[in-house]
């Protein structure tokens, strides 16, 4: 009886995810995001990344920034390391994918000579 009472006191019930969308708390460290307008290709994020999830590759015209979610451990070191605040960790957590390639984000930048 006591148990029943307890279970009827509310709060015991399931959260409604996935039937209702549920946002992760603000502090949550989710998918890494790049603000392309801030990235200057200095690769600080790639250097600190403990799992090699971020790579920054110099090309003849600029650089390629690439993130592999499959390796990322969501530690946030990249965001801390980026002096330009181009990298941040979002709230996104529904990251499951069917194809491994879908876990890779790639951005190619062209260096703009006049302003650099």
């Amino acid at each position: 009886m006591r148990v029943l009472r307890q279970s009827m006191r509310g709060r015991v019930g399931a959260h409604d995810y996935p039937l209702e969308p549920e946002a992760a708390p603000a502090a949550f460290r989710g998918q890494v995001q790049l603000d392309p307008n801030r990235c200057r290709g200095d690769a600080a994020c790639a250097r600190v990344c403990p799992s090699g999830a971020i790579t920054v590759e110099e090309t003849s015209t600029g650089w390629i920034w690439q993130l592999d979610d499959s390796r990322c451990v969501f530690c946030g070191l990249c965001a801390d390391a980026c002096a330009n605040r181009a990298v941040s960790l979002s709230n996104a957590f529904e990251l499951a994918v069917r194809q491994p390639d879908d876990m890779v984000t790639r951005a190619e930048f062209i260096r703009n000579e006049e302003t650099d």
């Binding site: 015991v12 019930g13 399931a14 959260h15 995810y17 996935p18 039937l19 209702e20 969308p21 549920e22 992760a24 949550f28 995001q33 790049l34 392309p36 307008n37 990235c39 200057r40 290709g41 403990p50 799992s51 090699g52 999830a53 600029g62 592999d68 979610d69 499959s70 390796r71 990322c72 451990v73 969501f74 530690c75 996104a92 957590f93 529904e94 990251l95 499951a96 994918v97 069917r98 491994p100 879908d102 876990m103 984000t105 790639r106 951005a107 190619e108 930048f109 062209i110 260096r111 703009n112 302003t115 650099d116």
Partner: protein
Amino acid sequence: MSTLHPLIPMLQSRQDEDASTLGQKFSDQVQRVLQRSMQIRHLDAGSCNGCDWEIQSLLCPAYDMQRLGLDIVASPRHADCLLVTGSVTRHLEIAAIRTWEAMPAPGIVIAVGACACGGGVLQGSYCTAGGVKNVLPVDISIPGCPPRPQALLHGLMLALDRIEQKLHHSNHEFRIGRSEA
């Protein structure tokens, strides 16, 4: 200033569908595809225990995966999909392959967590395979270290689609309801 190359796809959210839409149709879909609940077997192939706890959490009242028609079973022989955590250590590699072989077709493999998806922080260790994909054919990957239980649910829902796909596109005689018998 730098500009993005105009021809390269912009950074965008890569999520297939958001979970709430998936969730609405999920339970019906389980019924339609499997005609019973979707049975999951967990396989720890060298995780840190974080991912395993989150899988265990799915059973607790707060997530209660059983209400969605998902359940964890004790033997791979009963399982529709295998939740593999960890980057597959040397000492578990053979046992992991055997477990997978014991599964009935189509045998979906879900890699759970950074370790399982791509080796996580264990890049270059002498004792791990650097991810499940190097040992077993992976159907779904759920990144995270560890993925939140909600992220796991999202991944499991994608898995159902994959089962359906595999059932339609394979010549395997899939033994529906076998474990219920």
